[in-house]
């Protein structure tokens, strides 16, 4: 790699029938940073994540991960290359125990024997010790979000996409999650790309923010710049707020 971009999104367009969910979006993520992606409901944030992680092939554009074109690569290969993610609507493995669900992630890089060690470490890291033998279907939202995070961490990614990891959490759970995420970034050196509605979390966590509105990228910048950008305020509050 000549540059230090871990992820390059180039002119991505994704349509659902006539609806252009993501329209010609380009952005770069630098190795080691925490970047945010915000935007009103239906802006196309989740869709962009689905394109990046290989679930939806885009109509146009390229996704470059670690210098390699992964636009039409299947998700599990992208994961092997070092990218994993969590979901907005939690998707832990309902019929499996917390421990087993995380172990599935650990197999991404390790043989059966080694996985137990990884699982133990990740479980401790995400504070899931008391829940390790519980079934995922029986857990509450905050715990499920941590299971998803743990499962993704167990794959030992270099880039982690988090889709609204803070949604539905109370302030203390949110504080916990932010601490964990900062540690993930600082100690494991994992680049974080987060979609977030909770402004407190975006502002407190991200070094750079992209703003998406109706499928288009309308602003990029540091949190302070973004919060004062008229186009962003317009997108969030409607045109009347500007006049």
């Amino acid at each position: 790699m000549q540059n230090n971009f871990i992820l390059q999104v180039e002119n991505i367009t994704k349509k659902f029938g006539n609806l252009v969910a993501v329209n010609n979006v380009s952005l770069n993520v630098v190795q080691g940073e925490i970047v945010g992606l915000i935007g009103p409901n239906g802006a196309g944030k989740t869709t962009l994540f689905n394109v990046i992680s290989g679930l939806f092939p885009p109509e146009r554009g390229r996704v470059i991960f670690k210098g390699k074109d992964v636009t039409r690569v299947v998700p599990h290969v992208i994961c092997k290359m070092g990218m994993s993610r969590t979901f907005q609507v939690t998707r832990a493995f309902a019929s499996m125990s917390v421990e087993d669900a995380i172990r599935v992630g650990a197999y991404n890089r390790h043989t059966n024997k080694e996985t137990l060690e990884i699982v133990n470490e990740v479980i401790q890291f995400c504070d899931l010790g008391k829940l390790r033998r519980r079934k995922c279907a029986d857990l509450g939202l905050a715990a499920l979000r941590r299971v998803e995070l743990a499962r993704a961490l167990a794959t030992e990614p270099d880039l982690l996409l988090l889709d609204e990891a803070g949604a539905g959490l109370n302030p203390s759970e949110l504080g916990n999650l932010m601490d964990i995420l900062k540690e993930v970034n600082r100690e494991k050196g994992i680049t974080l790309f987060v979609v977030e509605h909770v402004m407190q979390m975006v502002m407190g966590l991200c070094q750079r923010i992209f703003v998406l509105d109706a499928g288009e990228l309308i602003a990029t910048g540091a949190p302070e710049e973004i919060s004062q950008n008229p186009r962003v305020i317009e997108a969030y509050l409607g045109k009347r707020a500007i006049r």
């Binding site: 679930l55 994961c79 994993s84 493995f93 019929s95 599935v104």
Partner: protein, 286 residues
């Protein structure tokens, strides 16, 4: 009364084999949501293979799974890549058409290769019978039932304790989420289809120790396994055994007290009744 007990004993022993056949079907259905109409015909093919190895190679039917298990496993993987993989994203009718087509094909092959008359092997290593109370127990049926239960337990352990087993469970819980944490969807589906098919080899071999085979037999095993699966629901191993035994006993009672030709009718009635009253099964999850 003695007659009832005798029928129940036979039915329960058969039921264990039905449970084993259904385990294969359940694995395939649970993982990739495919209705494999050819499953019963794989049992029939396995029985013919056991017959063939018994009559031309002198191998005892109960030992044929040692050879037919890997063969059916490979056949299953071949079927997956050649047929099933392409239909996964198609409409439901297409999937049904493909597996019904496979069923017809297997049946036609069996009819060509072995003609329509029933075949059976003259003897087996496990033969004879013994008495418990008033009931006579055929050793071959008893051993077949025990082998079935053992294999079911082994598969359950495989699913819960091993890497491929966990991958199979993860993929059946959530395909997208599992592929995003590194699980290879195609390989896992192929493995599930191969294993599901291979289990019919064990059932087929054991059945040949005391039964004859004919080319239309697939229909019976197909219907039986659908009935047991409907009764069980998905995800319960103990429920699978109980359902198998219930269906086996119902079938035996119908044959004993009504008419041997009524056996499938009773199975079909249970099937319809369960779908009507408990569409998600009695023992399963969700």
């Amino acid at each position: 009364m003695d007659a009832v007990i005798q029928l129940l004993v036979n039915g329960a022993l058969m039921g264990c084999i039905y449970a084993l056949i259904t385990l294969g079907l359940s694995l395939i259905f649970g993982v990739m949501n495919i209705v494999n109409f050819a499953h019963g015909d794989l049992v029939m093919i396995s029985m013919y293979m056991a017959f063939w190895m018994g009559s031309y190679m002198g191998l005892d039917a109960s030992l044929t799974p040692l050879i037919t298990f890997p063969m059916l496993f490979l056949l299953g993987i071949g079927i997956y890549y050649a047929l099933i993989d392409r239909t996964l994203r198609q409409k439901y009718v297409t999937q049904i058409a493909v597996t019904v087509g496979l069923m017809t094909f297997l049946r036609a092959v069996a009819q060509l290769a072995w003609k329509a008359q029933p075949r059976s092997l003259p003897y087996s290593l496990i033969s004879g019978n013994f008495q418990i109370g008033s009931a006579t127990i055929m050793t071959s049926r008893l051993i077949s039932a025990l082998v079935s239960v053992l294999v079911i337990v082994l598969v359950a352990l495989f699913l819960s304790r091993t890497w491929p087993g966990r991958a199979i469970r993860a993929v059946s819980d959530d395909l997208d989420a599992s592929s995003l944490v590194g699980v290879n969807q195609k390989a896992t589906y192929a493995l599930a289809f191969g294993l599901g098919s291979a289990l019919t080899a064990i059932a087929g071999g054991m059945l040949m120790t005391f039964q004859q085979v004919d080319p239309t037999m697939g229909l019976r095993f197909g219907l039986l396994s659908w009935c047991v699966l409907a009764l069980t629901g998905l995800g319960s191993i103990s429920g699978l055994l109980i359902s198998g035994i219930i269906v086996g006993c119902a079938e035996a009672l119908a044959m004993g007290f009504w008419d041997p030709r009524a056996r499938l009718l009773v199975v079909y009635l249970i099937f319809i009744l369960v779908l009507w009253l408990r569409p998600r099964g009695v023992f399963g999850r969700k």
